[in-house]
């Protein structure tokens, strides 16, 4: 996974973007600095990128740059939380989280007047995992509890939510950072949700103007 790299040359050829665009996006931090991996090649230094991530990001930028400025895009991709001030009614009318998820979360979250970004993110992750249809409600509630207790510990919301099952028992894990883990053979990974991806999706939803949803949320529903 780590070694699947794409050279800068190949990247430009594949995506059709220019050096000017690539460097501009780097300046605006649309492409994070640590994706630029310098390796020595026979022609001297060459820059490589993690293939999946950079191609995905460039596709997103190309799709959205018509509607949003580069600075708005940069906010979207940055791991820092967005500023939010939304009430329960806003969340429902703008279709950010489902009514079911909101109702189930009430015993844990209460009914705050407005939701913070972290609370929204937790709700959103909870909602997404329920909507996959892969988990039971009880497991979902366990997830919610873990997220509420420990989401704040993740650095810049980098982490992964994992649901393991073994012989009818389930266990929820919240992993910090981008780490691999290995479970026993007869344990099944029922669900893996990268939090940073959900952060991006949530910001996208938040930035979408009322009523008009972005089409790039392919993995919804």
């Amino acid at each position: 996974m780590e070694e699947d790299l794409i050279s800068k040359k190949e990247l430009l050829e594949l995506t059709g973007i220019s050096y000017g665009q690539l460097y501009r996006w780097k300046r605006k931090q649309l492409l994070p600095e640590d994706w630029f991996i310098r390796r020595s090649a026979f022609t001297g230094q060459e820059t490589f990128f993690p293939r999946q991530q950079v191609l995905g990001r460039i596709r997103q930028i190309m799709n959205m740059k018509e509607g949003l400025s580069l600075d708005e895009l940069a906010d979207l991709f940055s791991p820092a939380p967005a500023e939010v001030d939304l009430s329960r009614g806003d969340l429902l009318s703008r279709n950010i989280v489902s009514r079911t998820a909101l109702e189930y979360s009430e015993p844990y979250l209460g009914t705050p007047h407005t939701y913070s970004f972290q609370q929204l993110l937790i709700l959103y992750v909870f909602d997404c995992s329920l909507q996959t249809g892969q988990i039971h409600l009880e497991e979902g509630k366990a997830m919610l509890a873990v997220l509420l207790d420990d989401m704040g510990r993740l650095e810049e919301y980098e982490g992964e939510l994992v649901l393991l099952r073994k012989m009818g028992m389930s266990l929820v894990l919240l992993l910090s950072g981008d780490r691999e883990f290995y479970a026993e053979k007869d344990a099944k990974i029922a669900l893996r949700i990268p939090i940073s991806k959900k952060t991006e999706e949530l910001k996208l939803k938040l930035s979408a103007r009322e009523g008009r949803m972005e089409e790039s949320n392919g993995n919804e529903e």
């Binding site: 800068k8 040359k9 050829e13 220019s18 050096y19 000017g20 690539l22 460097y23 501009r24 780097k26 300046r27 022609t43 001297g44 230094q45």
Partner: protein, 223 residues
Amino acid sequence: MGTRNDLIITGIGVSSGGDVGAVQIDGVGTINGALSCEEEFVVNGKATVKGGVEAPKTVINGMVTIEGPLRTEGCTVEGKLKMEGNLAAESVQINGSVTVHGSVEAERLASNGKLQMDSLNADEIKLMLQGSSSIREIGGGTIEVIELEKLSSRWLKLLPMSLENSLTAQVIEGDHIYLENTAAGVVRGAVVRIGPGCEIGLVEYKESFELSDGSVVKSNARL
């Protein structure tokens, strides 16, 4: 928070830095910490900042050392600027010498003088060479490197030091590139023009490539 106080040094002065309104140093100033300015950061004379600087506008007439990053919108240097951190700006105008132990990022950078940088990333880069500049990596949209005037006085050339107007780089990448008096390992771009006085290892181009007499390009390839 209230309104911030301006930091004004006329003559010789020392300050501890911090959050200020505008900074105006006429003379010699030492700032023993980072500076966050609400308004412009102006030095006429000499100043040392033992930390980073943040200011909407930076004007340097004289000699300034910043032992940290500089984040600003418009930056003008007449004289000498030496930095230990990265420089990020909207537009940079240099007349003199700038040394940055780090990266420089800007939308536009125009310079007349001598630059030492680790990397330079700007949409429009125009370097007029005076003295020997070295930048490890240059990237951007339009990159133009020219030698404005040849060294006129012949006796200066007799001195044992290098007084050539030249640029040394490892990698130069951009959409439109024109180079003079440049020694570079690799130059990659859409439209690449190599003017006089260059020595380039490899040119990779997408649309066109021109090579003027008196320059050497070891190999070139169309992509």
